[in-house]
Subunit: 280 residues, 4 copies
Amino acid sequence: MSKIDVRADLKYEVRLATVFVFQIVAGRTEHQSVIWEQLEIDPQQTVEACRVGLDGNHMHRIVVQPCELRISYQANVLLAPEINRPTSVGESNISEMPPEVLTYLNPSRYCQSDLLARFSFEEFGQSQRGFSRVQAICDWVFKHLDYTPGSTNSWTTAADVLLQRIGVCRDYAHLAITLCRGVGIPARYVAGYAVGLQPPDFHGFMEAFLGGQWYLFDPTRLAPISGLVRIGVGRDAADVSFATLTGDALLLEKTVWASPSDFSNPPDLSSGDQPALSTA
Amino acid sequence: MSKIDVRADLKYEVRLATVFVFQIVAGRTEHQSVIWEQLEIDPQQTVEACRVGLDGNHMHRIVVQPCELRISYQANVLLAPEINRPTSVGESNISEMPPEVLTYLNPSRYCQSDLLARFSFEEFGQSQRGFSRVQAICDWVFKHLDYTPGSTNSWTTAADVLLQRIGVCRDYAHLAITLCRGVGIPARYVAGYAVGLQPPDFHGFMEAFLGGQWYLFDPTRLAPISGLVRIGVGRDAADVSFATLTGDALLLEKTVWASPSDFSNPPDLSSGDQPALSTA
Amino acid sequence: MSKIDVRADLKYEVRLATVFVFQIVAGRTEHQSVIWEQLEIDPQQTVEACRVGLDGNHMHRIVVQPCELRISYQANVLLAPEINRPTSVGESNISEMPPEVLTYLNPSRYCQSDLLARFSFEEFGQSQRGFSRVQAICDWVFKHLDYTPGSTNSWTTAADVLLQRIGVCRDYAHLAITLCRGVGIPARYVAGYAVGLQPPDFHGFMEAFLGGQWYLFDPTRLAPISGLVRIGVGRDAADVSFATLTGDALLLEKTVWASPSDFSNPPDLSSGDQPALSTA
Amino acid sequence: MSKIDVRADLKYEVRLATVFVFQIVAGRTEHQSVIWEQLEIDPQQTVEACRVGLDGNHMHRIVVQPCELRISYQANVLLAPEINRPTSVGESNISEMPPEVLTYLNPSRYCQSDLLARFSFEEFGQSQRGFSRVQAICDWVFKHLDYTPGSTNSWTTAADVLLQRIGVCRDYAHLAITLCRGVGIPARYVAGYAVGLQPPDFHGFMEAFLGGQWYLFDPTRLAPISGLVRIGVGRDAADVSFATLTGDALLLEKTVWASPSDFSNPPDLSSGDQPALSTA
């Protein structure tokens, strides 16, 4: 159990009337709750809060006239993950998966699991089933990619990354998700805040469906699993952009920040045999 | 209003224990109802009916031991489409779309609307907004592609098709969906049965979200809009495969068939100024 | 007939022993001669001048130990293009093309003419044959692409550009070359210097084989055809990098410059009905 | 030293006047000579023999009016390969390679060595330099691909194959060539005849430039290296199609055949520690 303070400040130059859809607010699950939060928009706007997609991601939609727009979100989030021993977490059989999970076996924009199925099966088809297979996939991704800011763009797919061997957090997550789906493990993208991320920014990581629930993984190893605060989930990054704009506006500043607030009980930052965590 | 008989017969050689997830059953909406239906499986199996995805597609999951498996589905479907004059159907503003529709603006596996956005905007950005813009997109797709069975495969995307100018029904639908999303019109893939399709097979077409509801389009012009019976919808064909298999089984036969049953009131087969139809 | 001064200054930080192959020296043809030139390398190196590829591109190979390396090339180049009326320049029939030209009908790394053949044929198959068809292709490329520095990278192909509708000079040339090959017109990439280019840099343009010889085209319209000084030619940009490095060196500065030196007879800068120029 | 009989019979239905460019005739090198050959065309045509490309591939160009066209080529070819012990064959340093070889380090249509350079370097950058590194690359390709007729098409690239892990001889050669170039070893595609190929057909294999000359490799292991008869070489398959057509003609039959004719001295068919062979 830990408490984490998160914060995001965005500043835009809005040139024409623009519709913004933001996804920056911490999600609510059985294992992640929001103790306190505040969303400030300057100048003030009529904000429509809505839930979108299969998993009810929290979005905020506003229509803004030309101005300098500032959005500031702060929250104190309580994480009470379910913790399991990795060796006790097996794979779910496709015949028993909850139907709503099946969607996360499908290929998606950046995760062409159909295209990479042979590769995935060849590389991980014989791995021991369960948590350790997803861990093996994440280890492989970590080992074979170079983390290089600016090396990829919003069009870059898991297939591109597998060839080019270079990318950023979203590319790492996309490739790991794709390889999981390729061996029949449902996997999805999680956008969120991450304690200790350098440089601070929004983070992209992933969840795999094992033993009847969603477990967190971060193939970048840039942040401790216990310090990951979810905003929303989706098939891949296409579903969880922090901001989607229709109109004409320029992002001038983005400041993102996450830090443990409950110092008597900080998140476990050790990188040893980390336990299996579920916060979904 | 029309009644349509649909039928699908599938035969598999099941070599190892295999999990099948079928999507062959007619969907239910306000405008499409099932008067009568029958799903037969030989040899008999325990069938789990489930609803999957944002739109609750009807799936049937069975676990089959090695055998020769036959699946037969028959139904009599009542279509009572809402019919509007095309010129009265405008576009929805993104600031007012129902939140659940926003998902269908996102790029997906076969519909890389992010990648084709400039193309789409250049080609259709200045078209008159509304039903006629989607019609213009479908006309463009019809005009520029060669319908050629066997020319594409399950990996082929809208971007591939735009370059290669050749494809089948799913490719036509993918490209039209992608171009719609590219100009800000939510669009989704529909799998279904189609009256008059030659050769008879499952069909792939599309819906665009206009004036607050989903309208049917078929850029292949291979079947009358009024003869389209939906099975399910999704972001693209990845979500609505008629069968997804995990195990080892070979499709031996597939027979698909659709025909108007209510002869006093057949579907409108004329290809003139067809009305805007919604059956979602 | 015009004289053009060209100059390129390059500065590298050489960190490990590195093999450089430079292509920066003005080419020699029947219609392009070098009146005066100077290649300076500091610190002094043993330079191997060599001719590479089908068209004997001039390359200079040097092996450099760690240092700060400066390369400076200056030349005064005489252009005496063969000038023809566009309407008199027809297409060569493939049955009569010189055999060495056939290679330039093949697809290449960045010019996948096989992939875009249908597109090309559909768009330009009915155009009037001859110089005006290549002009129509270049006009199409100019009209449909946005010239945007930094929008593409060294992996970007003509197929990418056709979808994304954005690029720089090499992308413009690649797309035009690809579309020419797609309708059976041999076309090749030319790297060179260009009078009036803003900002000054090396330039990439193209030649198409028409009426028995190679004619110059520049779909970017960034420089007058009469101010194009060739360095070398190839199937696409892969063959004419200004520098290829094996080792470890960082480009610190690049200054490129071209200007007409014979003021009594400047290159024709008008953009009207420009004549067909051949300098190959 | 061995003698090999090769034969190719092609039959076309020529529907409109068509220009054919054939590449089916055995090449001539220091180590491959043609003892006897015959090219028959029925009905008789005016044949233009020509040499195309950097390596002077033998082509035959004919213009054919509508008819049923038969081309038959037979030859008895003497192979006198230079044979070396693999361990004695090192890599050439780029500073010392003959200039004309540098071209074969460039990426090409089907061999995007720029795109796969990181992959190649990661996988083979630390391998022992020399013949054994190319052998390691070919072994890797053999091990990771499934040889599956019909699985790929004429658009399939080395990058596609690396992802999909499936292909035919040309795909095997393309991937191995690409990986060689990726670690700085010049490599090129060879089209030819192959003793023992099942089913008999034209074959695609490769050469790598090592120790100052071109050595033969066949990552498919479908034929003995000593039974490979070259037709021509190129950057990839784009340069050595057995037939290129402009017009309208349909290939009705293709029969290809190769067999050792000098029985007292058959090619070495053992697959053990095979020697390094050069026939270029």
